[in-house]
């Protein structure tokens, strides 16, 4: 079963950290990343630059609009993602709970959907 784990946290929490603590957190994330390669769970994933570096694109009535920033202001911001192969949801939850930012942020686990030519589910 394929899942996407979306990692959210308050960027203000990160900005309040010392450089040391932030580097430690990054180290933990790197170690976690390696561990899920070893366990066979990892399909992909990346950390992301903060939301102020984001750009949002929308096309309405053929017109392309580009705006600065994330798609919406949210209480917690998207910080990264992991694509996982897991046995079932409980397995995915177990893996997600070890993502270091889960300690102060939120991890959304979403099952992956296959696109098909007809009768797509909703």
């Amino acid at each position: 079963m394929k899942y996407l784990c979306l990692v959210y946290y308050q960027e203000s929490d990160i900005n309040a950290m010392s450089q040391n603590d932030w580097d430690t957190l990054n180290g933990e994330c790197m170690a976690f990343g390696e561990s899920i390669v070893e366990s066979g769970h990892r399909l992909g994933g990346d950390a992301l630059e903060p939301t102020h570096t984001a750009t949002t694109v929308r096309v309405r009535n053929g017109k392309v609009t580009t705006t600065d920033g994330p798609f919406a202001e949210t209480k917690e911001q998207l910080a990264g993602f992991y694509a996982l192969e897991a046995k079932d949801l409980n397995d995915a939850i177990q893996v997600a709970s070890r993502i270091p930012p889960a300690r102060f942020g939120s991890i959304e686990i979403r099952p992956v959907r296959q696109l098909v030519p007809e009768d797509n589910t909703r």
Partner: protein
């Protein structure tokens, strides 16, 4: 012939939930399993008069259900040439050993079913609906009526829950040891929610609501039987002790009778005796939690032959422990009420005022009702009046409304 029919009915009452739980595991699908269950019992009605009642009815039914389901899937596959994943869906055809399939030595499938229906990934109201439907066997209409919801709304809730189980791949299993505490919490929460729906509504609402409490207790018993964890035992004790007072809680006209005014001869002493044994057992484990502690508090009440004999000091002590385990404002409020009984209304009022000042319970009608009562006992009529009016504005239950209005009238008179 009628005897066989009676036997089938009896087997249905006793075993259908367990057969369903096993079929869900064997077939890997809730809806398939439900159809298979009905097919199996239809087959029983046809064949048992002819062949006799089987030595192991449950095994027979699981086998028959599975057979019919495979048949059904095969027939569907014939009309759907693109469905080449059907073969993967089929349970192992060459499954020769019925006992192995029934997993007699391993966990009861009902435990798998309970934990799956109460999975935290499902919305809370869906957990309740799904549990009542699949574990308790209530119909969608019965559940809708009990929760004052429209049947199509409830049906949709259940459909979406089953869909999420499939799409998100929620496995049909009992959680591992380390996941058990959180997962058990979810199950206990669902059971207690069902109980409270039946408990809080007083007479005037229908018999259906009373059945909900009975259903919750039945569920609680099943859980304790399958998984004798202290908190499961504690929850069952709590429900029994609270339910034991049902006959005394409301007058014939549906008016609320407070604990101190209840006719204790109407309390169900059998339930109380069972509840007290259970809470003692749960406390002895030293691994208990909030439900067990609340049950212990309820037991202190039920031990008292009359209100004046209530050991309020012990109740306050139990609330102290409960607060450490579950520091909620509502529990603080209940503790304040107990303190008032121990040390006088002024002591209680001080605590309630501090609570309300913090803002946590501003919209909780019982906080204002408690405050009103304490003011009333202290002779502060004006403050009492104001608090009763605040409580009235916030309450949603008719009998509570009438009770508060009654108190207000007493103040004026």
């Amino acid at each position: 012939m009628n005897e066989i029919r009676d036997t089938v009915d009896a087997v249905y009452r006793e075993e259908s939930r367990r057969v369903l739980a096993t079929l869900i595991r064997v077939l890997g699908d809730f809806d398939l399993a439900e159809e298979a269950l009905h097919d199996a019992f239809r087959a029983a009605v046809e064949q048992w008069p002819r062949d006799g009642v089987p030595a192991n009815p449950r095994a027979w039914l699981v086998s028959a259900g599975r057979f019919k389901a495979i048949d059904r899937i095969r027939k569907l596959a014939r009309f759907d040439p693109l469905a080449d994943d059907f073969d993967e869906r089929l349970p192992d055809e060459a499954s020769p050993n019925l006992d192995a399939m029934l997993d007699e030595d391993l966990e009861d499938d009902r435990l798998r079913l309970i934990f799956t229906c109460c999975h935290p990934a499902l919305p809370s109201d869906a957990q309740v609906a799904l549990t009542l439907r699949e574990v308790c066997g209530l119909t969608t209409e019965e559940i809708a009526r009990a929760f004052l919801a429209a049947p199509p709304t409830l049906a949709q809730r259940i459909v979406r829950a089953k869909n999420k189980i499939k799409v998100a791949c929620i496995p049909y299993e009992v959680p591992e040891r380390d996941a058990l505490p959180e997962r058990l919490d979810s199950v206990l929460r669902v059971i207690y929610l069902v109980f409270n729906e039946g408990y809080a509504a007083s007479s005037g609402a229908s018999l259906t609501r009373h059945d909900l409490s009975a259903e919750a207790i039945r569920l609680g018993r099943l859980l304790v039987e399958l998984l004798p964890e202290p908190e499961a035992t504690g929850l069952l004790a709590l429900m029994l002790l609270q339910e034991s007072r049902r006959a005394a809680r409301a007058s014939a006209e549906g008016e609320i009778i407070l604990l101190e005014a209840q006719d204790r001869s109407l309390w169900d002493r059998t339930m109380i005796a069972e509840g007290e044994v259970l809470v003692t057992r749960a406390l002895a484990s030293r691994r208990f939690g909030p439900y067990t502690l609340q049950a212990a508090i309820a037991a202190v009440h039920t031990e008292a032959v009359e209100p004046e004999a209530t050991d309020w000091a012990e109740i306050v002590g139990l609330y102290d422990v409960l607060l450490r385990v579950d520091p909620s404002p509502v529990i603080e409020l209940n503790r304040a009420v107990a303190v008032a009984m121990c040390d006088g209304p002024a002591a209680g009022l001080e605590l309630v005022d501090a609570l309300l000042a913090r803002g946590d319970l501003a919209d909780y009608h019982l906080a204002h009702a408690a405050r009103a009562d304490l003011c009333r006992r202290l002779g502060k009529a004006n403050e009492a009046r104001g608090a009763y009016e605040r409580a009235l504005a916030l309450t949603r239950l008719e009998p509570e409304r009438r009770f508060l209005e009654g108190r207000l009238r007493e103040l004026s008179g």
